[in-house]
């Protein structure tokens, strides 16, 4: 206890920290606790920065801070010049703010394509200490041999006996000729705006109000996530014929589901926890299909077809166990995304996303309309929507990015949606809305951010309630980042209120934390102490060892702290350790030990 008090006092001596913009982009999702593809991409290239002169166009678009116009400028400049230094980027009128954000991820030197990445991680959660096999293990090995990439990932959760309870493997072959890419093993598929296929881990809305809602991905990618579901297993390829790209894919995999007495699927087990071997991989899924992409000038068009088959029926008769799906997608003028969209249909259901982006650097707008019919298959898709199961939704999103002054940035979005069909709890159509305003003021070194988020949903509180309740949740956040030599501090004060208008029930909570990041030569330490007093849930992004995304959920009264230590043993090897604990709650200690090697 004394140790904790000392640390607590130390942390509160001064004020706060870093990675402002990365957190803005990846920390919004309140439900996901797994790293998104974007996070994985950024963590990888932070360790091994990419050469700005050779990075492919699709990867450049993944940088969340680069606008489409910035990407176009870089691509144009690269055709006739080599980018040798930061000042070359300034010549292209890329803002200093953007350059500061991307500079840690890029290099101007030739990067060796021969790489080995190895991550080994062990986790201990005190709450699960009585499980027969207490520790959770994860390991990832990726061998990058210029054109050939070979990888193996495995994971075992607490209580699981099989050390290879989950595994992923792949061989990826990339060339410059007509066979652009060939992938064998486990992979993920993403097409268009993600209605039929997309990476399931990714946010739709964030503080980057005019860029996050647009889905941009590589069509096929090895499955490197530790999330134990949604992977496809088989083979896929990307064949290039001049302006055309053809992507044939085949997958035959097993899924863990909950079955009813008639052996019909009631739900999928998305937790990845397999304590009951009988419920593990008890349903087979087969997918085959073909996607055709045409890239013409600055535009792209896609036509996608897939046939999906489960070997069990669904208990919800509206969901088919076998269906074919087709979609068309387009992006007109990729350099500014003025119009993009995807329209998909199965035998009897339709879905669509249509968006447009317009404006200038000082004022950018994004409008996005979506329509997803009830019981449209959502299993492999992840388009823009207000919820992860996206069917039965109609909505309109309006995002704005305003730069009224040189160091001030305002991001706001307004999203309105309705669920026109009934849902499990809601036996009538319901509506919802969300408003988000974030004002960021950068000072010379430090920065300040104010965030207001308001969500309003109509919902039933319980099944026996006949009335729809108006539920509103409002969050106010103030963040202050401060850098003092090699110490970076972050202070947050958060106030959350929840209001049930029908019953005039009003609940609220406050949370405050102090985070410190200290880097000295080979050693990095991130520590945070959070104090909360609340009747409602607070969702808090926290730092972790690489490859883990964590959104803590806090409520009640208490103090929560975590510390992450990273030490570079050798040039290419880093040892990472984290422990977290709730001070006045028993059995909540968590520990992570990880070794990250990049050769």
């Amino acid at each position: 206890m004394r140790f904790k008090i000392v640390l607590f006092s130390l942390l509160f001596i001064s004020i706060l920290a870093a990675q402002v913009d990365l957190e803005t982009i990846i920390s919004q999702d309140e439900e996901t606790s797994y790293p998104t593809e974007l996070m994985e991409f950024l963590q990888n290239i932070r360790k091994k920065p990419v050469n700005i002169n050779t990075i492919i166009e699709e990867d450049l678009y993944l940088f969340p801070w680069l606008t489409e116009i910035d990407v176009k400028k870089i691509l144009e400049y690269r055709k006739s010049h080599k980018i040798n230094k930061i000042s070359d980027l300034r010549k292209l009128n890329i803002s200093n703010k953007t350059i500061n954000e991307i500079k840690n991820y890029i290099t101007f030197k030739t990067v060796s394509r021969y790489k080995i990445q190895q991550i080994s991680r062990a986790e201990f959660h005190q709450q699960k200490q009585n499980y027969p096999s207490t520790l959770k293990y994860f390991q990832k090995t990726i061998l990058d041999l210029k054109k050939l990439k070979i990888g193996f990932i495995s994971q075992k959760d607490e209580g699981e006996k099989d050390p290879l309870d989950f595994y992923s493997y792949f061989i990826e072959y990339t060339t410059d000729n007509f066979l652009k890419k060939c992938l064998i093993g486990k992979y993920r598929l993403a097409l268009g705006q993600g209605i039929l296929f997309a990476s399931k881990l990714g946010t739709s809305k964030s503080g980057a109000a005019t860029s996050t809602p647009i889905k941009k991905f590589h069509p096929i990618k090895p499955y490197t996530s530790s999330y134990e579901i949604w992977e496809m297993e088989g083979a896929a390829a990307n064949l290039r014929f001049s302006y055309f790209n053809l992507i044939p894919f085949f997958s035959k995999t097993s899924l863990s589901t909950n079955l009813d007495t008639l052996d019909q699927i009631t739900s999928f087990n998305e937790s990845g926890i397999h304590h009951d071997e009988n419920k593990k991989n008890n349903v087979k899924e087969m997918i085959y299909g073909l996607a055709a992409k045409l890239k013409w000038r600055d535009h792209s068009f896609g036509l996608n077809f897939a046939n999906l088959n489960f070997d069990h029926e669904f208990s919800n008769s509206a969901q088919k166990s076998e269906y074919a799906a087709i979609s068309i997608d387009f992006i007109l003028n990729r350099s500014s995304y003025p119009a993009f969209g995807e329209f998909a249909c199965t035998q009897d259901k339709i879905a669509g996303v249509l968006g447009g982006k317009f404006g200038e650097n000082k004022l950018r707008h994004l409008l996005l309309f979506r329509y997803f019919e009830k019981d449209f298959p959502t299993w492999h898709g992840n388009p823009f929507s207000s919820q992860s199961r996206f069917d039965n939704e109609v909505g309109l999103y309006y995002g704005m990015t305003i730069i009224p002054l040189e160091r001030v940035k305002i991001n706001c979005y307004f999203d309105l949606w309705s669920f026109p069909g009934t849902r499990y709890f809601e036996k009538m159509p319901t509506v919802g809305s969300e408003q988000y305003i974030q004002v960021e003021r950068k000072f010379k070194v430090n920065s300040l951010r104010l965030t207001v988020q308001h969500k309003n949903k109509e919902k039933y509180i319980s099944l026996d309630q006949a009335k729809i309740r108006d539920f509103a949740r409002t969050t106010f956040k103030i963040d202050w980042w401060q850098i003092i030599t090699n110490l970076r501090f972050k202070t947050r004060c958060e106030l959350v209120t929840e209001y049930l208008a029908e019953d005039k029930i009003h609940e609220s909570g406050i949370l405050a934390y102090e985070e410190i990041r200290w880097k000295i030569e080979k050693f990095t330490m991130i520590g945070q102490v959070t104090v909360y007093h609340s009747d409602v849930l607070h969702y808090m992004y926290e730092h972790n060892v690489d490859g883990i995304m964590q959104n803590s959920v806090l409520n009640g009264d208490g103090i929560y702290s975590y510390f992450v230590f990273k030490y570079n043993l050798f040039k290419s090897m880093e040892l990472q350790f984290k422990f977290s604990d709730h001070w006045n709650t028993k059995d909540k200690l968590q520990m992570y030990l990880q070794v990250v090697s990049n050769f």
């Binding site: 200038e360 000082k362 307004f414």
Partner: protein
């Protein structure tokens, strides 16, 4: 749904119910923020606005074909004075409402003031028929890239069918961020109701085409519109959401002189 709207209309006047009807396609797109895109009908919201021209608009409220809503507005400026005549007409077999207005505005350098006199007539078949007069006042101040307007509707505290018509306070500020982009923010406060917050954006893609978009909080609405211009003539088409009803499509024809 139609029945729901008609019952609402029968129960009160348009100005008093939550239908929030804009008088033109531009105002439909901008959530009735009028400084962001000048049009002759702007005087109906802020009497200090004097954008000369003639503007005709039509919509079928919430896409219901038996609820047409017509608008005609003319603004003429002479020296420092401006004159505006306008009519808004909602026609249903059972319900008719007409709002005739006359506005006088005066411009002095960067400051404009104005006042509108309304003659509101309302008839519900076999139920009631009534009319009333009421007035609005407005103030507009331009300073470089910022324009700010304030208006108060029904300053006369007039009543209709023995009930007082709402008194509405509107404030709007419009910022020209670049020659092509404008941003407007505003608040609306009606007595006995909460504040309504509004934000609208304008982007001139081309001299022939302008995109307008807006959001209103309380009640929640998103408006989107496109203005096609050919010399002095412009056509605006816009849509605006309603969380429970269908989209409100609007079209306006505007001739500026």
């Amino acid at each position: 749904m139609k029945l729901f709207i008609v019952i609402l209309l029968l129960s009160t006047t348009l100005a008093a119910i939550d239908l929030d009807l804009p008088v033109s396609a531009v105002q439909n797109a901008t959530s009735t923020l009028v400084l962001i895109y000048p049009s002759p009908s702007a005087a109906s919201s802020n009497p200090a606005c004097s954008n000369s021209g003639i503007e005709s608009s039509i919509t079928y409220l919430f896409s219901m074909e038996d609820l047409p809503y017509y608008n005609l507005h003319i603004q003429y400026n002479y020296n420092n004075f401006g004159f505006h005549l306008g009519n808004s007409l909602l026609k249903h077999p059972l319900y008719k409402e007409s709002d005739n207005m006359f506005t006088l505005n005066y411009n002095y350098n960067d400051l404009s003031i104005g006042s509108t006199l309304h003659y509101l007539y309302n008839k519900v078949e076999e139920y009631h028929e009534d009319s009333t007069l009421f007035a609005d006042i407005g103030l507009l101040w331009k300073n470089g890239n910022i324009a700010t307007g304030l208006s108060i509707h029904n300053v006369t505290h007039s009543s209709f069918l023995e009930e007082q018509l709402p008194i509405v306070y509107l404030w709007e500020s419009c910022f020209s961020l670049t020659p092509k982009s404008k941003l407007s923010i505003g608040f609306e406060k009606e007595n006995d109701f909460d504040f309504t917050f509004k934000i609208a954006g304008r982007y001139d893609i081309h001299k022939f085409l302008t995109i307008l978009s807006s959001y209103q909080y309380g009640p929640d609405r998103i408006g989107i519109g496109a203005v096609f211009k050919l010399k002095d003539i412009s056509i605006c088409y816009s849509i605006r959401t309603h969380q429970y009803l269908s989209l409100n499509h609007y079209i306006s024809l505007n001739y500026a002189f």
